[in-house]
Structures are given as structure tokens and as C-alpha cells.
């Protein structure tokens, strides 16, 4: 294998790894928003997932238990948002921001003891038998950490459920027209609760991927705005799980680009701006597209449903 080939394979491989937490977070946010609930707490949920995953994996020596803990804590914290925005019909934007503050605060307090401790039991790359032997593609797609595989399967399954099953129709109708969905016998509150919690679980797992596979250690503020990029990717994906994969891996590529361009003398802080600049760029592009195709957000996104006020 030549030097260039090796470089390209390693870049693509790392782009997929860097895109994995973004994909997981975006998939969860797509479900929450499809049901009509905007959750701006992803950054905080990811932080909680990262710290709880790291802590539990460190103590038990088992990264899978860490992953489980991240999912559970993501679910618990997102339940707060579901309660405040669905049951109490409060302002979803403020509630989401509050959730982010809470998540960053708790993770900072919880993770203080973990700073500087390396994780010996991180998620290792797994070679899928036979498939990983395929030239080039095998190394890129089938020699990755387990959470990568989980995220890809989750993306496909979640797309299928959302667009090909009755459950998916119900979720989308709750986000588009909750009144009509209610009349058809869909439980609006329950659907929204479940979707927000799915979002919380996936955001937690996304955080755990950072602290258990991608970085693997705990650093305060390690989510570095990924939770906000997820919100932008949800729009870029036009609320479609398959398009979310495209967006997440493109952004993964941008994170890898930072390392690639460092040796040619671009100041590191300018490189660190790339994901944020790219987010603005992606929003500009998707704005054109949503206008052209007349595809927008779920119509009842961000609007609390009030059963009494018909």
C-alpha cells in the first residue's frame, strides 16, 4: 500500500469515527423534533453521557456498562425537558438552554476526579469477519469501534421506523398536526415523551462515544459545541435519518481536516473555527434547499400541545 492510499484510508476512517457522536445526537434530535419538541439540551446531555460513561467504565472496567450508564443518564436528564416542555407547556428554547447549563454543570462537578486519568478499558476497534477483508472498504467500514456499528444500524432502523411504519406516521403526525393526531387516537403527550427520551438516550450514547472511544478520557467541556452542531445537522438533514448520516460524516471529515492542515502552518485556533464556520455554511446551504423544495421543520415544532384549548 502506497503512502497516499494509506493516508486516504486513514482520513476516511477517522472521519467516520469523528462523525459518529454527531450522527447519534442528530438521530435523537430528529425524533424529538419530528414529534414537535425542540430540544436544545443536546450539548448538556452529551456532557452527561460522556462523564457518566467514563466514570462507570473506569470503576467497573467494562465500557459496555459505561455505555449503558450514559444512555440511562441521558434519558433521565431528557425526562426533565419532556416534563417541562410537554406537561408544563413551558418555553422549549429556555428549557433546552437550562438543560445544557445543568448538564455541563453536573458533568463538571462529577468529572473533576476523572481529569487526567487515562481509560484502560476503552472501546477497541472490532474487525467484522470476512467483510473487513474487502480491500480499502473493509478497513474503512468494517474495522471500527462497536458504537460506530451501532450508530449506522440505528440510522437505518430509525429511518425505516419513521417513514415505513405506522409508529413513524404517528410520530410525524404528532409533530405536524397534534390536534388531528389526537382525534385519530394517537396519544400526543406519550409520543412526545418517548421521542424526547429517545433523543436523550442517543445524546448520552454520543457523549459516551467521545469519552470511551474517540478521545478516550474525560476533559471538562470535551463536547466542544458538538451538541449545537447536532441541532444544525438536524436541519441540514431535513429531519431524515439517512441524510443525517451524510451530514454527520461530512462534519467528521471537517474535524479530521483540522489535524491534516496543522502541519502546513495554519494557526490552530483558526483550524478550530472550521466546524463552527462549516455549521454556518451548512445552514446557509440548507436554507436555500428548504426554500426550493418547500421542505421545512415539522409544522408544530416548538409549540406545546394543549388538550383543553381546542
Amino acid at each position: 500500500m502506497g503512502g497516499y492510499e494509506f493516508l486516504i484510508i486513514s482520513v476516511l476512517k477517522r472521519a467516520l469515527v469523528a462523525g459518529t457522536p454527531l450522527l447519534l445526537g442528530t438521530l435523537g434530535e430528529i425524533y424529538a423534533e419530528r414529534s414537535g419538541v425542540l430540544n436544545l439540551g443536546v450539548e448538556g446531555l452529551m456532557a452527561i453521557g460522556a462523564v457518566s460513561g467514563f466514570g462507570v467504565a473506569l470503576v467497573t472496567g467494562n465500557p459496555w456498562l459505561g455505555l449503558l450508564a450514559a444512555a440511562v443518564f441521558g434519558a433521565i436528564l431528557s425526562l426533565v425537558h419532556a416534563f417541562v416542555s410537554v406537561t408544563l407547556k413551558s418555553n422549549q428554547i429556555i428549557s433546552g438552554l437550562a438543560l445544557t447549563m445543568l448538564g455541563l454543570g453536573i458533568s463538571g462537578l462529577w468529572g473533576k476526579a476523572y481529569i487526567g486519568i487515562p481509560l484502560t478499558t476503552k472501546f477497541e476497534s472490532v474487525k467484522i469477519p470476512i467483510l473487513s477483508k474487502i480491500p480499502y472498504v473493509g478497513e474503512i467500514l468494517f474495522h471500527q469501534d462497536p458504537i460506530f456499528y451501532i450508530s449506522v444500524i440505528a440510522g437505518i432502523v430509525m429511518w425505516f421506523i419513521l417513514f415505513k411504519t405506522e409508529v413513524g406516521i404517528n410520530i410525524r403526525s404528532v409533530g405536524e398536526n397534534p390536534l388531528a393526531a389526537d382525534a385519530m387516537g394517537v396519544n400526543v403527550y406519550k409520543t412526545r415523551y418517548v421521542c424526547v427520551i429517545i433523543g436523550g438516550v442517543l445524546a448520552g450514547v454520543a457523549g459516551a462515544h467521545l469519552s470511551l472511544a474517540y478521545i478516550p478520557s474525560w476533559i471538562e467541556g470535551m463536547t466542544g459545541g458538538r451538541g449545537w452542531i447536532v441541532i444544525a445537522l438536524t436541519i441540514f438533514a431535513l429531519w431524515n435519518p439517512l441524510r443525517a448520516m451524510l451530514g454527520a460524516y461530512l462534519f467528521g471529515g471537517i474535524y479530521v481536516l483540522q489535524y491534516l492542515l496543522q502541519p502546513i502552518g495554519i494557526p490552530p485556533n483558526i483550524l478550530l473555527m472550521f466546524p463552527y464556520l462549516a455549521t454556518l455554511f451548512v445552514l446557509l446551504v440548507s436554507a436555500q434547499e428548504t426554500f426550493r423544495k418547500r421542505m421545512g421543520a415539522p409544522r408544530s415544532l416548538g409549540v406545546p400541545y394543549d388538550k383543553e384549548e381546542k
Binding site: L40, G44, V80, V84, L88, K89, S90, N91, I93, I94, S95, L97, A98, L99, T100, M101, L102, G103, L104, G105, I106, S107, G108, L109, W110, K112, E220, G221, G225, W228, I231, A232, I235, P267, N269, I270, L272, M273, Y276, L277, T279, L280, L283, L284, A287, Q288, T290, F291, E308, E309
Partner: protein, 355 residues
């Protein structure tokens, strides 16, 4: 048995106040529980927070110092939030204000007297803060791009840009390799109340602006238009309100005032530009709660900014005396915000159980 939820009519200010206090108490109680889980005595921690900020003359001095940027950012945010423009970018707007003010201070400070340099620094800070605020305004009105994300991204970009400057081209020649610009000369530094770090000109500007913005929102045509856009965008469309113009004016003022806070920090506290985390300990984010707690009333922001100034000082105290990370204070910020918006439900709805 059935739970019945009904909307209430008018709510008296007294009742609102009681509920506000109640929500603060609930916020602190839950925060205390989280401390307990972590094996920290919550009463000890809370005592440290409040004694550190409001329990001594020194505490008060620091509390007011921290209240200044919170007040300015908070006032700017009340205006944007009135127009339902979710400006989460006060932190970046503050940093951009600090940026241009630094450039003015360093280039003019050595040759011109203070009465020329300082006003120019404030004007410059307002303009650059406004510039950073107008970008998301145009993106929202022209292209329908969600302002929460754009303002946040602009925060991160501003942070990295300042970081680049103070580690790179702007690094001071006399700072022994620290990431600071050179120090401002005397005519580019703000006076302080003796024995404190309270740069009173910025504080006075804050109080005057609170009054002016209150009048602007309640008494002027543009202020009225901002409120209509916020409360009923459909009606605003029919009334022929120019969304682009109004939103740009609104965000220029909102970002500009946050920029003034940045001027205060560099000219009043640090006397040079330094890393973003030094210049703003998340003032722009805390200001969201400051504005919300004040029910978007700029005059009440004066009070709520002092309260949260105290919380930030308390955060410093538990950091130094108990070794807790500064982020801990975010727990209280988040919980207070959640309990304030939650308790609103019980204020506006009456819940009764029928058998």
C-alpha cells in the same frame, strides 16, 4: 378521578413575586440534593456561595463588579427576547466589543487623553458588538435560519478568533510570553471606585441604558413593532412592519450593548485583551437567566444582575475554598431557570382534582 387544568385570569404582581422566590428556593434545594449525592454538605456549600457574595463588604464589591457585564448583556437580551429573537450570542458580542475597544485603546491610548480615548472605545465596542449581532439577524429574516444556532456558532468563532489574536499577532511584547496584548496606557483605562474593581462609568452606562431601553420598548414606534413581531408575527406582517429593518435595529442595539460590557471588562478590569475565558466567565449565557428572571423588564435586570453577580462570586468562592470546578455554578443557573419557567405553569393554570 380527573385532573382538570384551567387557565387563570389576571395574576397580581405580589403573587408573581411569591412564586419567583419559591422557584429560587426550589432551584437551590434541588441543587443541594445534587451536592449531597456528590458527598458535599449542601448547607456548607450554599453558605459559602452566599456569604462569599453578599455576606461581607468585600463580597459586595466583587458582586457589583460582576453584575456590570451581566446587567449590560441582560439589558440587551430583554430587547431581543421581546422580539422573540433568541440571541444566545451575547458572549460573542461582548468579546467582539472587547476586541475593537482594545484596538482603539492600544492605538490611540498613548497619544490622546482619556476623554477622547474612552468614549471612542465605548463607541467602537458598541459598533463591533452590533456587527456581531446583525449577522444572525440578517440570516434569520432573509433566509429563515435559526438564530439560536447562528448566535452560538458566532460565540465559538469569536472565542477562537480572540484566542488566535492574543496567542499570535496581538501578543504583547512586554508580557513575558503570556497570552495578553500590551497593557493599556492610563488614558485607555476606566476609573474605579477606590478600593474596589467597580469601574463605575460602565455601571452608570448600564443603569442609564436600563432606563432608556425600557422607554424604547414601551414608548417608541420601533419598540412597539419589536413587541408585535414577538407576540404576533402574523399581525406584524399584516400591519406592514418591516421585519428586516426592525430586527436589524433590535439586534444592533442588543449586540451593541453586550459589546459595551466587553469594553468595560478590558478597560475597567484587565487593562489588556486576554483569553476569552478570562474576559467573560460566561456572562453572555448567565445574562439569559438574568433577563428571563427579570421577566424581560430592563429595569428589573438591574436587580437580577446583582443577584447573579453574587452567584458568580459564590462560584469563585467554592472554587477556591472547596476545590469545586467553576462549572458547578451552572448547576444552579440551569436549575433556577428550569424552576422559574416551570412555576410559571402553576401561576398561569389552575389545577383541580375532581372525583
Amino acid at each position: 378521578m380527573k385532573i382538570k387544568v384551567e387557565r387563570r385570569g389576571e395574576i397580581s404582581p405580589k403573587k408573581r413575586f411569591v412564586y419567583l422566590i419559591l422557584s429560587l428556593i426550589i432551584g437551590f434545594l434541588i441543587g443541594g440534593l445534587i451536592f449531597l449525592f456528590k458527598g458535599i454538605n449542601p448547607f456548607y456549600a450554599l453558605q459559602k456561595i452566599f456569604v462569599g457574595s453578599f455576606g461581607s463588604i468585600y463580597g459586595w464589591k466583587e458582586t457589583i463588579t460582576k453584575a456590570i457585564p451581566l446587567m449590560l448583556c441582560g439589558i440587551g437580551l430583554t430587547l431581543a427576547f421581546k422580539g422573540k429573537f433568541w440571541n444566545i450570542g451575547a458572549d460573542g458580542q461582548l468579546l467582539f466589543g472587547a476586541l475593537l475597544a482594545t484596538w482603539i485603546g492600544l492605538s490611540l491610548g498613548k497619544t490622546y487623553p482619556a476623554f477622547v480615548v474612552l468614549p471612542l472605545m465605548f463607541v467602537g465596542g458598541f459598533i463591533s458588538g452590533a456587527f456581531w449581532g446583525i449577522i444572525p439577524a440578517i440570516m434569520k429574516v432573509k433566509l429563515g435560519i435559526n438564530e439560536v444556532i447562528t448566535t452560538l456558532m458566532l460565540n465559538y468563532i469569536a472565542e477562537q478568533f480572540i484566542q488566535y489574536l492574543v496567542y499570535g499577532p496581538w501578543k504583547g511584547k512586554t508580557q513575558y510570553g503570556f497570552p495578553y496584548t500590551d497593557n493599556f496606557s492610563a488614558s485607555a483605562t476606566l476609573p474605579v471606585i477606590k478600593g474596589t474593581r467597580i469601574h463605575y462609568p460602565t455601571l452608570i452606562i448600564g443603569i442609564i441604558l436600563a432606563i432608556l431601553i425600557y422607554i424604547f420598548i414601551m414608548k417608541t414606534k420601533t419598540g412597539y413593532e419589536i413587541r408585535v413581531i414577538g407576540e404576533n408575527p402574523e399581525a406584524a406582517k399584516y400591519a406592514g412592519i418591516n421585519f428586516l429593518k426592525t430586527t436589524i435595529i433590535m439586534m444592533a442595539i442588543s449586540g451593541g450593548i453586550a459589546g459595551l460590557a466587553g469594553v468595560g471588562e478590558v478597560a475597567g478590569i484587565h487593562h489588556h485583551l486576554t483569553t476569552p475565558t478570562q474576559i467573560s466567565s460566561g456572562y453572555g449565557y448567565t445574562a439569559i437567566i438574568v433577563a428571563w428572571l427579570a421577566r424581560l423588564n430592563p429595569l428589573v435586570v438591574i436587580l437580577s444582575s446583582i443577584f447573579f453577580g453574587g452567584i458568580l462570586v459564590g462560584g469563585d468562592t467554592i472554587q477556591t475554598s472547596m476545590g469545586l470546578p467553576f462549572a458547578t455554578i451552572n448547576i444552579f443557573n440551569g436549575l433556577i431557570l428550569i424552576s422559574v419557567i416551570s412555576i410559571n405553569f402553576f401561576l398561569e393554570y389552575k389545577i383541580s382534582i375532581k372525583r
